[in-house]
Symmetry: C2
Subunit: 90 residues, 2 copies
DNA sequence: TCTAAAAGTTAATTATAGTTTACTTATAGG
DNA sequence: CCTATAAGTAAACTATAATTAACTTTTAGA
């Protein structure tokens, strides 16, 4: 896992995704098959290329057990997001 | 602003975006012009349609002063993300 | 080393996101 | 009410994301 105590960009999101995948001992092809997303697309995602569909980002996050939270400038409420779109909880 | 103390989905991300935009007294066309993103695409985003590019989501978040944070299941580090890709801090 | 598996690249094609234009509801002031 | 502005929709077209298949390069064990 990369050190993410510092603030960051989509490049670090990519690093986080890759770090989680490798920590889970999964190959790109494993994820590719599980999510029906091609290997070139996964590589784009793990390189931090933002010209990918949000849907695919969410699928990957969900699969790896990652989620995220919106932060507003007026910093009072945070919102957790996962890739699970039809989950009644989310 | 919607109540986001509860956990949520991309639909709520959409709500958050729309809430922030209207709070800033901006019309869809205002944002559309500022970001060079078409009105239909903005509407897709504000309806929670995830079949949009991640790049466009990031542009909108950045413009509205929103950012987000990755959360791992093993919940120790969080990472802030904004749309600003070339900002050395992010 | 050798070699097998994983990572990464490339090019051609297909699928789909995004735009433009025009039109149709809503919403709020006057 | 009437009207102006914003929101939302639709269709045809363009731009680009995604796939497939084949290939090259790394990496880690035996």
């Amino acid at each position: 896992m990369p050190d993410l105590s510092e603030r960051f960009s989509s490049k670090l999101l990519a690093q986080e995704i890759m770090a989680k995948r490798t920590a889970m001992k999964l190959s790109l092809v494993d994820v590719s098959k599980a999510l029906s997303i091609s290997k070139p697309t996964l590589i784009k995602i793990e390189k931090g290329d933002t010209n990918v569909s949000f849907a695919n980002i969410l699928k990957v996050l969900e699969f790896l057990g990652l989620s995220f939270t919106i932060i507003s400038d007026d910093i009072n409420h945070q919102s957790n997001i996962t890739g699970a779109n039809d989950d009644p909880w989310f």
